[in-house]
Symmetry: C2
Subunit: 312 residues, 2 copies
């Protein structure tokens, strides 16, 4: 194992430590803390876990965070009504509707909800006007995972300008915005996906490889140029012991974790990549903690911007 | 000379022929033609030429087109006032403020103006919300040059899905949106720029190369994989005889053009690329005519969408 591990937990703690004084300063000026309203529809267990992490982190930096729950049977109209109320409330600077929404709400429900969140409160950075500003390199609220990746790379002194970066995955939430952020930092960026022929050969051109496809252990050493930096965005929870053992190896510490808990979270990058990469974000403890930290940072930024916009 | 020339003039004529009946159908329903309001500030000669081309093309398909002129000394506030009036007018479905604005208007003036144009009338596709929708693959109004490139490629039966595409240039107007459109059509896309090391080697990976940098004859055969499709977005007017002769060759037809007119428009792609490329968009007569045709198409689309939105 040779790759340097990029410690997302430590960088996230740095960011939280910077957010804390901004929260306090805002609260002193505005006579209220920055507020984040979270809406959770249904009872997806993964969503419950994410939300719990967000609530704990927000409380740790002094943000107000309120969780509104709707049953899985709620209508889209009910959800939109809550969003409109949060839009209109002065208590909330940020609004987050936890994804995924129940399928029963209909195809396109998420898009409709994200379009309705006021752009100034859009701490997830999913509203098209915020996506457009990102593309134009003038965004204030950027999706948390892409911006978290940038923070992790920059604070780990990983060079970006002048490098070749390859992003595998073209989602709206991670792949495309990450590619654009790397481009703005002067990387030469290749965007790959499921229809890219000879993906390992293209990935091997990368000084900086970002894997964001949600396929556990998909990226093997055959994808890696020796010494490259590898960012693993995948977080797939596996419960099949044979599959886990195939990936993490018999007798490994991660297999012991699996035995204890009955499941384990595996990234898009195979553990053996650590033997050829120069630097690697672990799963867990890599990109994940940054996503939560950037949500806190976006919330205090949104609060500051809203306060400034009123000239108070 | 072996490359097949992609005839932008012919494809633009096809598109205009499709727009004409849509204009007529709209006019019959709405009892007025779709309207395009153009604002020209100052007297940049290149802008005058572009506007004349747009006015002629719009008239040819039955669009109403009105040109408002402001002197080069006009203030940003005056210009914004005109845009607001056009936003509020029911006569205009599309609004175009010709770029570049006079420098005296201040840095950031263009951005402020483009942000104020109503997204539903933003036939240039420069408003951030339209850029965001493009990024999310659900745009109706897309910047005319990128969407024109797609039309030219598709109507010329150039394969995009599964190819490797390289875009040189990362402007908001051409480079970045073209890369995203190619990605959505399932190309594997590399975005290059002035800080890309060993650009010719990367360009040679391309089955489809788009040059959008504004540097005349910059792309030489050393950038080209044999048989690749090359899209030349550059249009630089050269007036230096020695420079022109170096590029187009002594005794060439283009040098004769230069002798007659005193200037000639040169693309980003060197003429000798025609000897190695499989297909090539000429300059002039390649991408340029598409840009104008897509403006007409966007205007009638905007008119139809606005009409639909009112449920009339």
């Amino acid at each position: 194992m040779s790759a340097r591990l990029l410690d997302g937990t430590a960088v996230a703690a740095q960011i939280r430590a910077e957010v804390g004084p901004r929260v306090a300063a805002f609260a002193a000026r505005a006579r209220r803390p920055p507020g984040l309203g979270i809406v959770l529809v249904g009872d997806n267990p993964a969503s419950e876990t994410y939300i719990a992490g967000k609530v704990k982190a927000a409380a740790g930096v002094g943000l107000r965070i309120d969780l509104e729950r709707l049953p899985a049977t709620a209508s889209l109209a009910q959800l939109l009504g809550i969003v409109e109320r949060l839009n209109g409330s002065d208590v909330y600077d940020g609004i987050l509707v936890q994804s995924p929404l129940p399928e029963a709400m209909g195809a396109g429900a998420e898009r409709r909800v994200f379009d309705v969140i006021h752009p100034a409160k859009d701490v997830d950075g999913f509203h098209p006007i915020n996506v457009g500003r990102l593309m134009q390199n003038r965004a204030t609220l950027i999706a948390c995972t892409p911006s978290g990746i940038m923070e992790l790379l920059e604070r780990s002194q990983i060079a970006i300008a002048g490098t070749r970066a390859v992003v595998i995955g073209r989602s709206d939430i991670v792949g495309k915005p990450t590619a654009i952020l790397l481009l703005h930092r002067h990387a030469t960026v290749t965007m790959c996906h499921s229809r890219t022929p000879d993906l390992p050969a293209i990935a091997r051109e990368a000084d900086l490889l970002v894997a964001a496809i949600g396929r556990p252990a998909f990226v093997t050493p055959a994808f890696i140029k020796g010494g490259a930096t590898v960012v693993d965005v995948g977080i797939t929870r596996l419960t099949d012991r044979a599959q886990v053992e195939r990936i993490v190896g018999a007798g490994s510490k991660r297999l012991q974790d699996f035995e204890r808990r009955g499941s384990v979270v595996i990234g898009d990058v195979h553990p053996s990549v650590a033997e050829v990469a120069g630097a690697l974000t672990p799963v867990p403890g890599g990109v994940g903690p940054l996503t939560v930290a950037m949500l806190l940072k976006n919330t205090v930024t949104a609060a500051e911007e809203r306060f400034k916009a009123r000239g108070r």
